[in-house]
Symmetry: C2
Subunit: 415 residues, 2 copies
């Protein structure tokens, strides 16, 4: 790249001109820590500390059962869903927060196969985020002979999508490579043969522009604890396009999805709205904390986020190429920033140990088997100068073989 | 009852002699509030306030992604499950905390029907807790022709349990009446015909002695936010008897139930242990807060809890009969304390307004349609004197028709 900075000062200058720079102060980030794993677990918004104390002490401790009404716990799933909606190009009333991404994927996939009776295939790609494949395999094993999961690498994916396909399930931004799918093209291909399209937005929402209604998506799920900064294991969310809501019936028909849950009748009657996507009692503390992260993300301009994210990625790649040349790294993400989410992945045969050596220097990226080093850029709190410092540390670790120590061989991590 | 106290002082004396009295100080309870709704949402343990701050600020804020290892978030579901186990007569490795009660019920019921191929019935009772029926109806609608839900009132329930029954699903303590099922007898009846037995312990665990392995139960689910004091919408838990774990396959096969989740392979391989009951990423904040409530409950002697619970119930019934005679109340719970959980329900045609009038006096019970007033007794923080004060307030409300005001006609509530 032609604009590779020559010094750390060039990046300090970029930070000074960054229109998103003020967001960093809204997060708790330890002095001296460079956190490049917000694509796995987002940082703590400062406002979440006061909110959780309020939820616990005032709403639970003092309000007790009354808070379902007085603090409107009842509408939390829809309220937070409506705040997520603009981040993913959905309309009000199309998104609810509930359960985990995995549970929500099961609900939607199960509903979708029943909306396409007589079709036998769910299509996905190998190497999709594991839980997506596992959930679809669970559905397949539960409905033997009725539905089967078929996968093909993305270059041959379209050949699988045919008149026997009930549903296509793909993750918009790949968790390892960061490669983006063309949502509009794949959705159109699915619709062309009468199949439904379900997007997993876990690695997209809050990181790249998403326009569910613009691409005519049918269903989507996503994660609350990555770029939405909702806290470890935050609830997920689900999207059902308005046009499908009346026909949408999911098997996890718990009481919070009932038209009148507190009438406590014996017969299930789905809520007429997106609430039919709910199952059990809302996890109030976790959903309340997620709301803080979502509000923060929704307040930022997505065009600015995307521009900074792409710039951070380009700078990282060009600096690695300049300062770590000949050290055995290869780029595992698309070089074209328009085809990449908000992360850059490298391969290296000593990737695991190298990531541990970085962590020991308080620079946190993560490792994904067999040989991927992931660096996530979260424009709300990643600074340009962090990129410089990371690459210098990486260069130093390689030059001195700092990674080659026994204590850098034994940790697991979670996306 | 012969031992009905004659004065408030008699109850003050009982509190002074109560070996559980010191537990009350471990909960946040506003001065002047009488909380008789712990069967719906348990009170806030004081220790949960510091724990949640630690989870948010230290584990999430500072530890970030590293806390999956350094704070052992990974083993939370099993760790808290193992702490619940002794409360419900389960062994270590038989219980995990995850998702909601409703989601867990779906997992277990779905797994159970596949463990009894060729059988077509799930048996339950009308008036079971609504979400239990709704989840079973969801499964029925999802597997048309394969499985159907059949219900009969408990006096005729056994006639439904036959060779075509895959699973019997019942709630141990009825949410409205508080009536207890004979777990041993019903479980034996199910096993006699080769059916599996699933108990919902939501209104039992922490309130009455439960001995899952003693009665040879196959499966169980339960709620974290009632007597376990885990906070609003706390995660639920599930139990799978050791003998079934190898054959147990549930369709919500998310990555946290995988044998090696972080190997991130394409094919689902269930964990060899109870972890196969997990689905998505653990809700760390909510599970960490639940752990505090569970530890507090597990530290108390269940024989003392049961004895106090029964005494509270008996005193309440006898005082209502003495002080509210002729006011239109009828007992909706079994009079025999051995057949009753830790609540007493009354019926009254003005039940809704009467409960609101009590709430206005800072005495919190709840109402269940069409005419049930529920009073839950949580021996860790309900005082004997609270019973006296509640009945006096009730008598006063009835004598003066205080309930007959327009503002006492419009609130909903949640169990």
């Amino acid at each position: 790249m032609s604009d590779t900075p020559l010094s750390r000062d060039d990046l300090v200058d970029l930070d000074q001109d960054d229109p998103l720079a003020h967001y960093r102060d809204q997060f708790e980030l330890e002095e001296g820590l460079i956190y490049l794993d917000g694509n796995s677990l987002g940082a703590l918004p400062k406002a979440a500390k006061t909110r959780v104390a309020e939820l616990v002490e005032r709403e639970w401790g003092q309000g007790l059962i009354r808070s379902w009404n007085t603090h409107d716990w009842i509408s939390l799933p829809e309220r937070v869903g409506d705040k997520i909606a603009p981040i993913i190009g959905a309309a009000p009333g199309e998104v609810v927060v509930a359960d985990s991404t995995s549970v929500n994927l099961f609900k939607l996939a199960a509903a979708a196969v029943r909306m396409r009776p007589g079709r036998h295939k769910i299509v996905s790609e190998p190497g999709n985020f594991p839980t997506d494949l596992y959930i679809l395999q669970g559905l397949e094993a539960f409905l033997p002979g009725e539905i089967r999961l078929e996968t093909a690498p993305r270059e041959r994916l379209e050949t699988l999508i045919d008149e026997d396909t009930a549903l296509v399930v793909l993750t918009h931004v790949h968790y390892k490579s960061g490669e983006l799918f063309d949502m509009a093209a794949i959705t159109a291909k699915a619709h062309e043969v009468g199949a439904l399209m379900l997007w997993d937005l876990s690695h997209s929402a809050g990181a790249v522009p998403v326009d569910l209604n613009g691409v005519d998506a049918d269903f989507a799920v996503g994660c609350g604890y990555k770029y939405l900064n909702g806290g470890p294991g935050a609830p997920g969310y689900l999207f059902v396009a308005k046009r499908h809501q009346a026909a949408f019936r999911q098997p996890l028909s718990g009481w919070f999805g009932h038209a009148e849950p507190f009438a406590m009748r014996d017969d299930y009657q789905p809520a007429p709205t997106i609430k039919r996507g709910l199952c059990g009692t809302t996890g109030v503390l976790a959903t309340g904390v997620l709301e803080v992260g979502v509000e923060l993300m929704a307040s930022a301009d997505m065009a600015l986020i995307r521009a900074k994210s792409q710039r951070l990625g380009e700078l990282f790649i060009s600096l690695v190429e300049r300062h770590c040349a000949g050290q055995g790294f290869a780029l595992a993400s698309p070089r074209d920033a328009d085809r990449r989410g908000s992360q850059v992945s490298l391969t290296h045969e000593q990737g695991f140990a190298i990531i541990q050596a970085l962590i020991a220097r308080h620079i946190i990226g993560d490792f994904r088997a067999p040989n991927i080093l992931r660096f996530g850029f979260t424009p709300l709190y990643t600074r340009y100068v962090d990129i410089w410092d990371t690459v210098q540390a990486l260069a130093n670790i390689m030059a001195t073989r700092e990674w080659d120590q026994p204590e850098f061989k034994t940790i697991t991590a979670v996306t």
